[in-house]
Amino acid sequence: MSSKMINSILEDPEFKELARQKNKVSLILTITELVLYFGFIGLIAYNKPFLATKLSAGSATTIGIPIAVGVIILSWILTGIYIFWANSVYDEKVKRIKKRFGG
């Protein structure tokens, strides 16, 4: 690929929009994951009694158990959200750009 074509792709408004959007989605999802996990760690460090709360009277299960499992499941769901966005929106745009520039 010539440097001229790289430059014209870089100047292309659709490419600029693509890069901006991709960064935004990655950043939002990364921050969500960080909040999710370090929120959990924060509860362990600062609020153990909350995690030790029983789910209901007469139940031995503490709220900490579904929360821990929930962090695992939500993490996976976040990767699913990314895949869904990337497959339906991102890849389509990439395809269009590639087509226009004959890449």
Binding site: F15, Y46, V71, S75
Partner: protein, 573 residues
């Protein structure tokens, strides 16, 4: 009521285990033979020619990541410590979304075979490849040592096979897989192992749930009845908030800096398949950790902590004990063979990653300035595989009987501190320079290793193992007496004796304490400092002097990162 230690065949030669294991070996060697015919070029050796699908790679990533340490270790931790064990299983999963959102696609689009290709993409090849290869090798060697020592010990526990023979079997087989079958054979070994491990763990969980009326509520109720409600609450494992945060950082970002994991993204044809593979891997690994937690609680409830710890103090045999309880020696044999296969698959992946750092990064990238022909590179890669395989066995022999659990933590800390910051900055930051990257890698590595050596985990528990053990025992005694004193129905006479005992025990504990030199660095996890400093130094040094060529190339790198135009397909040669 004292828990009766059940009759167990763990630790004796189990014919079913041996049969299952031989079947696994025969199958994987047949695959290696098939793969050997397809492994002629460097791209086939390092990256299976880029012909693995996203789903297959997802399973293989899970296979690479679900080590025996996480299967046996987490189940053991949960069975002996309860809720605290869960904290680790969560920590080991949460790095995967980060890999997907920040790393997987640019990694696939910018590199060829290793992550140092990406860091070196627009920086100076020789210094970057040298530093990144050292970062990879240090990570791989710590991880490998922990796996090899674990392998020898576990196989001895499970099969009654001598430690040394176990190491030779593991070493010989992994060399065979990697040497002849390259990445293709290694990938299929991982896939088979992942399927066996997921299937075996699922079966074990179903049998366990059958015993508790298919109710998690009942399982936790039984655990709480047997060990008190504190078993289902976070306890003392994570006490200092900064230490907890630091551990979390290393677990989370360590995953995104493990060379054997990063290398797997070159086995798929493009970035789309790369991201797909992380989705599958995260699902499999998350499911697996939920299973191991269930196995841990099941073992604690159905078999009992004491019986588990009677076999292995660390609780590592919890899953095996539960297997024997649920399915007799048949299920025990099957799962023991699966655990053996697990170790084998993980060390094969590590060896391949180490060999790539030596041959692709150091030999070709540095000594031959990137110009070596295919034949020559393959020769070096194969020699490196044999060398690393032998090194792994020697490390296993050298550290026999040592407590090496800290080395897994160390591998994660180095991966998070030396490899991850440089990789991330090289992808996202235009001003990042060669000097900045090299400083960042070495800062992260040196700070992580030094602080762990000076932490209580190594300085007290490993280097002063004997006096530390006495101190812990003395402290436990004090705690035991204090607990007895708090009992409501204590008689005045007994109270007086116990109080006298307490004074002696406390004095004893105080003397024992003076025998242990306290660690200079008080935290168990250095991640917050080592990773923080790696980022800080990388940024500061980069800001001091600009690198014009690197900044110019950042623009063309962008087209490749986002659109994938110009991305070197490992399959397009």
């Amino acid at each position: 009521m004292p828990t009766q230690a059940p009759q167990t065949v763990i630790g004796t030669l189990n014919p079913i285990a041996i049969l299952c294991f031989l079947l696994f070996v025969a199958g994987t060697l047949a695959i290696t033979y098939w793969a050997a015919k397809k492994t002629k070029t460097a791209s086939q050796f390092y990256a299976a020619g880029g012909g693995i699908t996203g789903f297959q790679n997802g399973l293989a990533l899970a296979g690479d990541y679900m080590s025996a340490a996480s299967f046996l270790g987490i189940a053991g931790l949960v069975s002996t410590k309860g809720y605290d064990g869960l904290i680790y299983s969560v920590g080991w999963l949460v790095g995967w979304p980060i890999v997907m959102f920040l790393i997987s696609e640019p990694l696939r689009n910018l590199g060829k075979f290793t992550f140092s290709d990406v860091v070196a993409f627009r920086l100076k090849q020789k210094p970057i490849k040298t530093a990144a290869a050292i970062g990879s090798l240090v990570t791989v060697l710590f991880y490998l040592t922990a796996q090899m020592v674990g392998a020898g010990t576990l196989i001895k526990l499970m099969f009654g096979l001598p430690y040394e023979s176990a190491l030779f079997i593991v070493g010989g087989l992994m060399i065979a897989y990697v040497l002849f079958g390259g990445m293709l054979a290694t990938t299929w070994v991982q896939i088979i192992k992942a399927v066996l491990l997921l299937g075996g763990a699922t079966l074990l969980v179903l049998l366990t749930l059958d015993k508790v009326d298919w109710s998690y509520g009942k399982l936790f109720q039984m655990a709480s009845d047997k060990y008190g409600s504190s078993f289902l609450e976070p306890g003392g494992l994570v006490s200092d908030p900064l230490d907890a945060f630091s551990l979390g950082l290393a677990l989370m970002f360590g995953t995104a800096g493990l060379p054997h994991i990063l290398m797997r993204f070159y086995t798929v044809p493009d970035a789309r398949e790369a991201r797909k593979s992380v989705f599958y891997a995260t699902g499999f690994i998350g499911y697996f950790y939920i299973l191991t937690v269930t196995i841990g609680f099941g073992a604690a409830v159905l078999v009992g902590k004491d019986a588990i710890m009677a076999i292995d103090k660390g609780g590592n045999m919890a899953a095996m004990v539960l297997a024997e309880f649920n399915g007799g020696s048949l299920l025990l044999g099957f799962l023991a063979a699966v655990a053996f296969a697990t170790i084998l698959a993980v060390v094969a992946g590590l060896t391949l990653a180490g060999a790539s750092a030596l041959s692709h990064d150091l030999y070709v990238g540095v000594f031959r300035s990137g110009k070596a022909n295919e034949k020559e590179e393959m020769k070096v890669a194969k020699a490196a595989t044999i060398g690393l395989g032998i090194t792994a066995v020697l490390l296993g022999l050298l550290f026999k009987g040592q407590n090496v659990a800290f080395m897994v933590g160390l591998a994660f800390a180095v991966a998070a501190s030396a490899n991850f910051p440089a990789l991330l900055l090289s992808i996202v930051w235009k001003r990042f320079t060669t000097a900045g990257a090299v400083t960042s890698i070495f800062t992260g590595m040196i700070v992580a290793v030094t602080l762990i050596m000076l932490s209580p985990t190594v300085y007290e528990d490993v280097m002063q193992a004997a006096p530390k053990k006495e101190l812990v025992a003395a402290n436990d005694k004090v705690a035991g007496i204090e607990k007895a004193l708090k009992a409501a129905d204590i008689t005045p006479e007994l109270k007086a004796t116990k109080e006298a005992e307490l004074t002696t025990a406390k004095a004893d504990a105080a003397t024992k304490k003076t025998a242990v030199k306290p660690a200079p660095f008080g935290m168990k996890n250095p991640g917050v400092f080592s990773m923080g400093l790696a980022f800080l130094m990388g940024i500061l040094v980069s800001l001091m002097k600009r690198e014009k060529t690197a900044e110019d190339m950042f623009e063309s790198e962008k087209v490749r990162t986002y659109v994938g135009i110009g991305a070197e397909g490992a399959n397009k040669h």
